[in-house]
């Protein structure tokens, strides 16, 4: 199955900007470890993963009455703190959850990707 994992909130992790350089190094190490854990796991492929700009740089796009409307900021409060995402192929939820445990303990949302090609 293919999953989109949204790093949706800091949870108990200190916000990035408030972390000391050492703490940031540690976090980077965890991201690196996650990449390696994925590479080393059978049936798992990390298809994409990026860090995202701050919420204040996000733009929300809505279509209302046939008109495209843009507003400043993220879509809703829940994604205010969204810091990044991964697109991962994994055999099932348990393998994915096991791997995500390697990352810094962010709050995450895991959404299976639906195959609409068939």
């Amino acid at each position: 199955m293919k999953y989109l994992v949204l790093l949706i909130g800091d949870g108990e992790v200190k916000p990035w900007a408030e972390q000391t350089p050492d703490e940031q190094m540690t976090a980077m190490g965890l991201f690196q470890a996650f990449d390696e854990a994925c590479a080393g796991r059978e049936g798992v492929e990390l298809l994409a993963g990026e860090a995202l700009a701050e919420a204040s740089d996000a733009t929300t796009l809505r279509t209302r009455g046939g008109q495209l409307q843009m507003t400043e900021g993220p879509y809703a409060e829940v994604v205010e703190g969204m810091g990044g995402f991964y697109l991962i192929e994994a055999p099932h939820l348990d393998v994915l959850v096991d791997l995500l445990g390697v990352l810094p303990p962010y709050d995450m949302q895991i959404s299976p990707v639906v195959d609409v090609s068939g």
Partner: protein, 411 residues
């Protein structure tokens, strides 16, 4: 005793194994349960005339498999592709090799249990699904247990099955680092079903102890797969202590509280079994927090079960056990239960003091206990106010009637 119906017997004993086998083979969670249901109906028609087959479970398996194959053929003709349940790689390989079919089937049953009570499922959905798929309890009975309309329960079960496939919850056994936590969840799932049967309903369904008994059966079947699993041993003891009182809990259509129960009606054999479980070697080593909490709750239940009369309950022991339990999980409902014990051991004033600072906004129980303790300590005005508060929050007719009665008895 009515003669044993061989079909009911095989359904009771084998439903979970059959469901697990069919799931491993066809990976169609949406078809397996209906196909098994159809097979049972077919057996009910055929067996009385043709006689019970030599291997009744194999007969049901074959019949259910045919139903599923029919459906798959129809789908193939219509060129519809349905999503498949994820079966863990180890099981898929084992299925091809078939080194030891017996052990494989037992493992499949464990896979089914773990899938049904996966932590990514809502607890109530997991509970209902476990009763349906592992034990074959009927949807109307599960609806009765949880006091919801049958259509609501049917929809809940369908949603849960869809979610398992959609979210990629596997039919598998996780590695040993994760397994203890997952067995804890299985225990919570079973206990939720158990307590649902003792949540007061209306009329003849005031309590539904026979359905609570199904939750005990669930624990017994998982314990047979994982002997000596501490959390299950402790939970079984707790359930048996509570369940042993079932015949004394209702009299003339009304709830009877513990101190007023006729202890002659308690099932002594179950009390003895529970007591023996508490001495099991499984509970002597280091256990999970969940197992420790069930053990302490079972020891509290044991104090009640073994006291010769309500008046002779060793209340100071009960308080001590509550203190240990609060050390594990300092919950408001735990503090409420402790306060009740404190009141019995040291008087209503001490109980009221122990209630201080406890806040449980979602239930009438806190106000009800406070009212009772105020009444006992002679503070009738304050007691009346607390009864009113409890009545305003109480959603159950039976309990409301009880509270109104207590309030009126204050004069």
């Amino acid at each position: 005793m009515t003669p044993v119906d061989p079909l009911a017997e095989v359904v009771r004993e084998e439903w979970g194994r059959l469901a697990a086998l069919l799931l491993a083979r066809f990976r169609r969670l949406d078809l397996v349960e209906d196909a098994l249901g159809d097979a049972v109906e077919a057996a009910a028609r055929a067996w009385p005339d043709d006689g019970v087959p030599d291997r009744p479970a194999a007969w049901l398996h074959t019949t259910a498999s045919r139903r599923i194959l029919d459906r798959l053929r129809t789908e193939a003709v219509a060129q519809r592709v349905q999503p498949l349940l994820v079966v863990e790689a180890a099981r898929a390989e084992a299925g091809r090799a078939m080194a030891d079919p017996g052990a494989l089937v037992e493992d499949d049953l464990l896979r089914l249990v773990l899938m049904c009570s996966h932590p990514a499922l809502a607890p109530e959905a997991a509970s209902a699904l476990s009763l349906r798929l592992v034990l074959g309890v009927s949807t109307p009975d599960i609806a009765r247990l949880f006091l919801v309309p049958e259509t609501t329960m049917a929809a809940r079960l369908t949603r849960a099955k869809k979610r398992i496939v959609g979210a990629g919850i596997p039919f598998g056994v996780p590695d040993s680092s994760v397994l203890p936590g997952r067995i804890d969840t299985v225990a919570q799932t079973a206990y939720l079903a158990f307590t649902a049967g003792y949540s007061p309903g209306t009329g003849t369904d005031l309590l539904r102890p026979s359905l609570s008994g199904e939750a005990i059966r669930l624990v017994r079947s998982v314990l047979a797969l994982r002997p000596g699993e501490a959390v299950l041993v402790a939970l079984l003891a707790l359930m048996l202590f509570q369940h042993s009182r079932r015949d004394a809990r209702v009299r003339d259509g009304r709830l009877v509280l513990l101190p007023d129960q006729d202890r002659e009606l308690w099932h002594r054999d179950e009390v003895e079994e529970a007591r023996a479980l508490l001495d099991a070697p499984a509970l002597r080593g280091p256990v999970t927090r969940q197992a420790a909490a069930y053990t302490l709750q079972a020891r509290i239940a044991a104090e009640h079960a073994l006291a010769p009369s309500a008046a002779e309950t060793r209340w100071e022991h009960v308080v001590g056990l509550h203190d240990l339990l609060l050390g594990l999980a300092p919950t408001p409902s735990g503090r409420l239960a402790r306060a009740v014990a404190v009141a019995e051991a040291r008087g209503p004033a001490a109980g009221l003091a122990a209630l201080e600072g406890v806040d449980i906004p979602t239930t009438h129980r806190l106000a009800a206990v406070r009212a009772e303790l105020l009444a006992r300590s002679g503070q009738h005005d304050a007691a009346r106010a607390a009864y009113d508060q409890a009545l305003a929050a109480c959603r159950n007719d039976v309990e409301s009637a009880h509270l109104r009665e207590r309030r009126q008895s204050l004069g």
